[in-house]
């Protein structure tokens, strides 16, 4: 065949080769089709391990009981026993190693999540003892009077009762 036919062909082949080479460089080796097949399975396999390796912050109540037995038992007898310690005390991380002390949320905002009265009878919300946050001591923090670990209606702090 004549040269003027072959030359562009070489150029085209070189281009294809170059693209394949770049692709080889850029695409990770473990990128491929895995268990979920052609339609849903394309991915870089090592990404699964990356997601599994995310740091766990909320460690659940299990570890709390060992050191804070008294607190744990007090709460387990109260209506607040259903609430995880970490919901108010913050995620445990590696406590007591790191952080040594947790940041406790004593804010009014935390209590009114459940105790702002919303009269819906379809679910359980209407049955929770509640207040109108705009009328019930709007300037005060709930914990000034109420004991969050043992919140029976009249079980308030002594100074609040007097």
């Amino acid at each position: 065949m004549k040269n003027h036919v072959l030359r562009p062909l070489y150029v085209a082949l070189a281009l294809v080769g170059f693209i394949l080479f770049v692709r080889k460089l850029l695409v990770p080796v473990d990128f491929g089709i895995y268990e979920r097949g052609y339609m849903y399975g394309w991915h870089r396999k090592s990404n699964e391990a990356e997601w599994k390796g995310v740091r766990i912050k909320y460690k659940t109540d299990k570890g709390c009981r060992d050191c804070h037995r008294d607190k744990y038992e007090e709460i387990s007898k109260s209506g607040h026993s259903i609430i995880s310690c970490e919901n108010c005390h913050g995620p445990r991380y590696e406590h007591p190693k790191d952080p040594p002390g947790l940041t406790v949320d004593r804010s009014r905002g935390l209590c009114v999540r459940c105790h702002a009265h919303i009269p819906y009878m379809t679910g359980g919300r209407g049955d929770i003892p509640g207040i109108d946050p705009e009328k019930h001591y709007p300037q005060a923090e709930c914990v000034m009077c109420h004991l969050s670990h043992n919140p029976k209606p009249m079980n308030q702090k002594r100074e609040a009762r007097s």
Binding site: F31, I33, Y34, E35, R36, G37, Y38, M39, Y40, G41, W42, H43, R44, N47, E48, W51, K52, G53, V54, R55, I56, K57, Y58, T60, I82, I83, S84, E86, N87, P91, G109, V112, R113, C114, A116, I118, P119, Y120, T122, G123, G124, R125, I128, P133
Partner: protein, 261 residues
């Protein structure tokens, strides 16, 4: 010269060739087939939401944002809780202020630019809360539309996003019928709930399940017939969201109402 017979013949061959799917040119590899058979995979994660138990406290949303490092003050969340209030005149009011990160603390309904809407209690016929999260669909459209293979489904059914591979085109955000996906404000890639993959793969529950005081949420292995979640899904009257889309969601709801979209 080409005659009519030849022309027809060639045309048919050409059309037939054009119609060959790309997949047909793939070289058959027996290893793939074997892998498909061998995946005697024993796990398929699924989720159960009992809307009758949810009180709209939003502890789940708060825990999720912290556990999964979604910036706390940005108005995006991996899971959120919606409130539905149906009134006597047949209207439905829906809101989810900040995704319910701080819970529902007022009977007033947030109607965006129309302000806060107050409904007198005697006008309410039913009112309830519906937690939402990624459905880890069996046929995830978000995965199909990804042009680079950055989002994918694992063997145990969880849809994940490869942050280093995502180009941020946003197709998946448009493709998810449940509006579950958003852009991560820090990483600038697509983001969504992944059932706390780092927790469930270590035998823990998701952060939202652990945070919910009322037991409205649970996660389980749908391939294990003895799993309490699987038991409920198999034996009770559960429903899924937007079934007509054919996505086969794996988040099941107890006590869903027709108003929920």
């Amino acid at each position: 010269m080409i005659n009519r017979r030849q022309f027809c013949k060639r045309a048919i061959i050409a059309v037939g060739g054009l119609m060959l799917p790309l997949a047909a040119l793939e070289i058959f590899d027996p290893r793939t087939l074997q892998a498909e058979k061998e995946t005697g995979n024993k796990t398929r994660w699924g989720f159960l939401v009992d809307t009758r138990k949810c009180v709209g406290c939003g502890f789940c949303v708060k825990a999720c944002k912290i556990e999964n490092e979604v910036p706390y003050d940005a108005n995006v969340t991996r899971t959120w809780v919606e409130r539905y209030v149906v009134t006597r005149d047949g209207k439905t009011y829906i809101d989810s202020p900040k995704g319910a990160r701080d819970g529902f603390t007022s009977p007033k309904i947030d109607q965006n630019h129309h302000g806060m809407h107050e409904i007198p209690p005697q006008e309410v016929t039913k009112a309830f809360f519906v937690p939402k999260l990624c459905n880890q669909c069996e046929n995830p459209p978000c995965v199909q539309v990804c042009p680079v293979g950055a989002t994918y489904q694992t063997e145990d059914g969880v849809v994940l996003i490869d942050r280093t591979w995502c180009i941020g085109c946003g197709y998946c955000i448009m493709g998810c019928p449940y509006s579950v996906r958003f852009f991560h404000p820090v990483h600038h890639v697509a983001e969504k709930c992944n059932f706390c993959y780092h927790r469930i793969s270590q035998g823990m529950k998701t952060a939202c399940v652990d945070a919910c005081p009322f037991g409205a949420r649970s996660v389980g292995n749908l391939k294990d017939p003895d799993d309490p979640v699987t038991r409920i899904i198999m034996t009770e009257r559960v429903s899924v969201l937007k079934e007509e889309y054919g996505t086969k969601p794996q988040v099941f709801y107890l006590g869903l109402s027709k108003e929920v979209k």
